[in-house]
Every structure is written in C-alpha cells, then in structure tokens.
C-alpha cells in the first residue's frame, strides 16, 4: 500500500513539484531513492535542513538574493514533506510550521520582497504576503492568489513572479483550513468573508489601485476564487486554475486526497466528513452570481478532479457574458504538466483584464 501511495503521488504530482520550484535534481534524486511512502516525510525534511543551512551560509556572506531563494527552497522542501501527509497530524503540523517560518525568513530577501501582513478579522489574524513589481510606482493592479487543499501562500512564488513581471502586484493569504490559518480555523462555508477582509485591507494600501483587483485560485482554490468573486462585486477578473464546482464525486475520491478534505475540515473520519463537505463546497447558486470576467483552466486528463466538474461550471455560467474555458487535451491536474505554457497564459489574461502590460 505504501508503495502504491508513493507511485500515485509521483504520477499525479511529480511535475507539479518542479513547476512550483522544487529543483528537478531533487525530484529525480527522490524518485531514485524513495521506495515507500513512509520515507517521504523524513526525506524532504532532511533536504529542507540542507537548504536552510545553505541559506544561512549565503546570508552570512551577504548574498541576499541567493539566501532568499535558498530559504524558499528550504520552505518548499518542508512544504512537500507534509504534502498529503494527513495520516500523521503531529508531523504534518511540524512541516507546516517549518514551512511558514522559513518563508518568513525568505520574504524580505527576494528581489521583489514579500511584505508580511496579518489582517485582523472576526477574532482571527489572516496571514499573507503582498509583493510589488520592482521599480513600479503609482497605484498598481493586484491579483489575489489563493492556494487549494494542499497549496498555500508560500507555494505561489513562481506564479507571482509571472504577475510581477507583467506589472501586477500579488497578494497571497491562507484562508480557513489552509496552511498557517488551519491552526486558527478549519474549512468553513464563509471563506469569501476572509477574502473580502483581505480586499478591504488591500484597498487601503497606497500602492494598490482599488478598482483593479483580480483573483486566481488553484484546485480547491479555484472553487474559492469563484466563491469569493460571487460574494464580492469588487473583483474585476477571476481565474479558476483547475475547476472544482462541488464535491458530488467525494465518494469516488481516492486517498490521500479524500482524507485531506476531511482533515482540513477538522474530521478524523473521511466518511463522517462527507455530508459537511458536500454541503459546504458547492457552487450551485453562487457561480451564477459572478459578474466579472472569468477564465477557467482545466486539464482534460485530470485524474484528481473529473471533467464533469467543468460541465457543471459551464452549465451554471451559461448566461455569463465573459467566460473563457481553456481545457488543454493533454493537461493533467491544474495542467501542472504544461506549467511553462498555461501559467504565463493565465498571467497574461489577468494582466489584460486588469490593465497591466503583457
């Protein structure tokens, strides 16, 4: 079983790791070295420690940019250590916390620094980062970048860079059930209120053009993007990077993904979590309310989210005036296998809709 999980993780996510920034040499070394899923967590944790040591060495020599990216590599290693590691919450939490701490060290060192924020809302503190295009001035369009079930605000560094180079600022945060926020709040039906709280905060920043704010979310984040845009008319563009319309397929979902949905909702038992999740994650009646332009990307070969989910979104938004579906025939989950093509394409679409340059 342990071998099967490992194989399925590599099959579904191997290229994604590289697309998000894990060096190919590390992925290939891991593929050659690991034989069982049990070895996954300690392997990536050790690698994270190695990168952290290299980062501190670079920083001691005042090699700030290198130190920043090495801290980020350390962060990514710990992120992937706990990736899908839902059966062992002690180590999973540890991986999350190391990831968060290391990204905080990386953030000010990037060529385009990531500015940390904690927006107070309803007794929570919503953690996130704002990044501005280097050398830019005046008020800038901005894109809110949402993670999904297993991606968080620390994992979109590369996609953010695509936005920055097009003159778009970026804002990432963890919502309920995600990353750092998971320790404060589990998955809940009003994710959009957290998004709107961040939007309230963003609007007040002098660097931001309040009338040029877009949103993009990947995988489960694609759900949250539509959900947030449905509830907040201030968004001028919305990208669904992987379509998840509802959890009608929850009982067909395989572990560790199924277990993961239950986990982030605060359930130990995936079976018992079913009714709550199906009820909470459903765009019916919401998707119809989105008024801004929408771009939906979905890989026709996605084995994690079935293509029927795209059909549901298409049907719900049939009357929408400005809706683009981009369904590459050879794309896998979130088209991660086509990252060099589809990610710039989404950034271009956002830049066009928000008045930035391409």
């Amino acid at each position: 079983m342990s071998r099967e999980i490992l194989d399925s993780v590599w099959r579904a996510s191997g290229i994604r790791l590289i697309g998000d920034g894990v060096p190919a040499g590390d992925v290939m070394a891991a593929q050659a070295s690991l034989t069982h899923w049990d070895e996954w967590f300690p392997y990536w944790t050790d690698l994270g420690d190695t990168y952290e040591r290299l980062a501190r060495e670079a920083l001691a020599r005042n090699r700030r940019q290198s130190a920043g990216e090495l801290f980020w590599h350390a962060c990514l290693s710990h992120h992937y250590a706990q990736f899908l590691w839902f059966h062992d919450s002690v180590r999973r939490d540890l991986g999350q916390m190391r990831k968060v701490a290391l990204y905080r060290e990386a953030a000010p060192l990037f060529a385009a620094p990531a500015i940390r924020f904690d927006v107070p809302f309803d007794g929570f503190a919503i953690p996130g980062y704002l990044r501005l295009p280097p050398g830019a001035s005046g008020s800038l369009p901005v894109v809110i970048v949402l993670g999904g079930l297993e991606s968080t605000k620390e994992e979109s560094y590369r996609f953010e860079n695509l936005c920055l180079t097009r003159g778009l600022a970026t804002c990432t945060f963890d919502g309920p059930g995600q990353g750092e926020m998971y320790f404060q709040a589990k998955l809940r039906p009003d994710f959009h209120r957290f998004t709107s709280a961040v939007l309230d905060w963003l609007e007040k920043r002098p660097e931001i053009a309040a009338d040029c704010i877009g949103i993009i979310g990947r995988s489960l984040g694609g759900f949250y993007a539509i959900h947030s845009a449905a509830h907040d008319p201030r968004f001028k563009a919305c990208v669904c990077w992987g379509v998840l319309f509802d959890l009608s397929y929850y009982d067909q979902m395989r572990d560790p993904a199924r277990r993961g949905f239950a986990f982030v909702a605060g359930y130990d038992d995936a079976e018992k979590a079913g009714p709550y999740l199906r009820d909470t994650l459903d765009l019916s009646g919401q998707a119809e309310r989105v008024r801004c332009p929408v771009y939906a990307l979905h890989g026709a070969q996605d084995v994690l989210i079935p293509a029927t989910q795209v059909d549901r979104l298409r049907k719900a938004m049939a009357a929408h005036a400005d809706m683009t579906f981009d369904i590459p025939e050879d794309g896998n989950h979130c088209c991660h296998n086509l990252y060099a093509v589809v990610r710039p394409r989404m950034a271009d679409w956002l830049a066009e809709r928000l008045g930035a340059r391409t």
Copy 2:
C-alpha cells in the same frame, strides 16, 4: 545500441535540460515516449514546432513576454533535437539553424531584451547577444558567458537572468566550432582571439564598465574561459563551470561526446581527429598565465570529464593567489543536478568580484 545511447543521454543530461529551461513536463513526456535514439531528433523538432506556433499566437495577441519565452522554448527544443546528433550532419545543421532563427525572434521580446551583435573579426562575423539589467543606468559590469561543445549562446538565458538580477550585464557569443559560428569556423587553437575581439567591442559600448569584465564558460567553455583569461589581462574574474584542462582522456571518451569533439573540429573520423584535438585543447602553459581571480566548479560525480582534469588545473595554478575550487561531492557534469544551488553561487561570486550586488 540506439537504446543504450538514449539511456546514457538521459542519465548524463536529463536534469540539465530542465536546468537550462526545458519544461519538466516535456522531459518526462519524452522519457515516457522515446524508446530509441533515432526518435530523438524528430520528437524535439515536433515539440519545437508546437512552441513556435504558440509563440506566434501569443505575439498576434501582443503578449510579448509570453511570446518571447515561447520562442525561446521553441529554440531550446530545436537545440535539444540536434544535441549530440553528430552522426547526421544534415539534420544537425538544420536544428542549429532553426535554433538560431527562433532565438533571434525571442531576443527583443524578453523582459530584459537580448541585443544582437555581429562583431567583424578577421573576415568572420562573431554572432552574439548583449543583455542589460532592466532599469539599470550608468556603466555596468558585464560577464561574457561561453558555451561548450554542446551549449551555445542561446542556452544560457536562465543563467544570464541570474546575472541580470544581480546588476551584471551579460554577453554571449558563439566562438569557433560552436553553434552559429560553426558554419564559419571550426574548433581552432586561437579561440581567445575571438573572445578578445568581442571584448574590444564591449569596451566601446557606453553601457559597459570596461574595467569590470568577467568571463564564465561551461564544460568545454570552462577550458575556453581559462584560455581566454590567460591571453587577455583585461578580465577581472574567471569562472570555470566544469573543468576541462586537456584532452589526455580523449581515447577513453565515449560516443557521442568523442564524436562530437571531432565533429566540431571538422573531422568525420574521431580517431583521426585525436592528435589535432589533444594538441589544440591543452591548458598547459596557459593556465599559469591567468592573473585574475578564478573560480572552478566541478562535480565529483562527473562521468563525462574525469576528476583528474581538476587535479591538472590545481597543479598548474598552484601558485595562483586567488583561486577557488568548488567540488560538490554529489555533483554530476557541470553540477547540472544541483543547478538551483551552484548557478546562483557562481553568479554571486562574479557579482562580488565585479562590484555588483548580491
């Protein structure tokens, strides 16, 4: 045999493709699809055509940055089509020419454009590109980036970006036997004269600080870097990205590399090329003359260039006042498997020695 070549190419160079910019999804798809070396050239050529089509579509929509990188991906695909394809010079030449043409289209579209030059010298026109850090002004330090046996001026785009972000301008060119220049001149003993001609041209550019010029070369380019710095005292820093001191191991070298050395020297017969190559490629008596600081990187696990080559350089430069050896234990050829660590490290060293920022 054809299967063996394919396996050895993947083993030696699989990660290098990704490090140089080939999307991981393309490499993994090729690994899953190709079964014989014969299929290599057409596979990558087809992919190059696909990227070219995507590039033209992006350009038609005025998505300039995406178009630039898609043209570059097309260029890289054609580059790797002809990579090590020494047994079929007709198709190899075709691949080279497509690569060159596509990079010319990409060059002005990059966020940091590549400015084409053709420096007249001795009846030749030395083709190359100059790139400047975006937003920079005043006179800038610059790094000359050399390719090797199978890397050319089009393949260092990513490494150049690491330099640019550190405030270093970059200058790449093809010397005798390399890329576009191969059609004018085969491998010859006075490569350094071509480097110096480019340096003469660079010194006259108003954007360039003539007293802050460094050089880096990879693999056979590491030889050319030392060789050029030995003959031209104007270099202030020299990086040997993979140490090649001489061809004393030529008879132990395996195909297609051995055939490749003969090919770029204009020989059909690798056996017959031996004496000329051994005589022409030898740093004895040259390395001793280098006065500027030198940084030499070599992977201890390099199976293409034996570690004894490092010993030879170490011995020849024993009296050098500022010589750094960086020999990662787990590094392969040029440490391509460690690209995320060693490439920024070399860029940092260059930036420090040339007075740029890190």
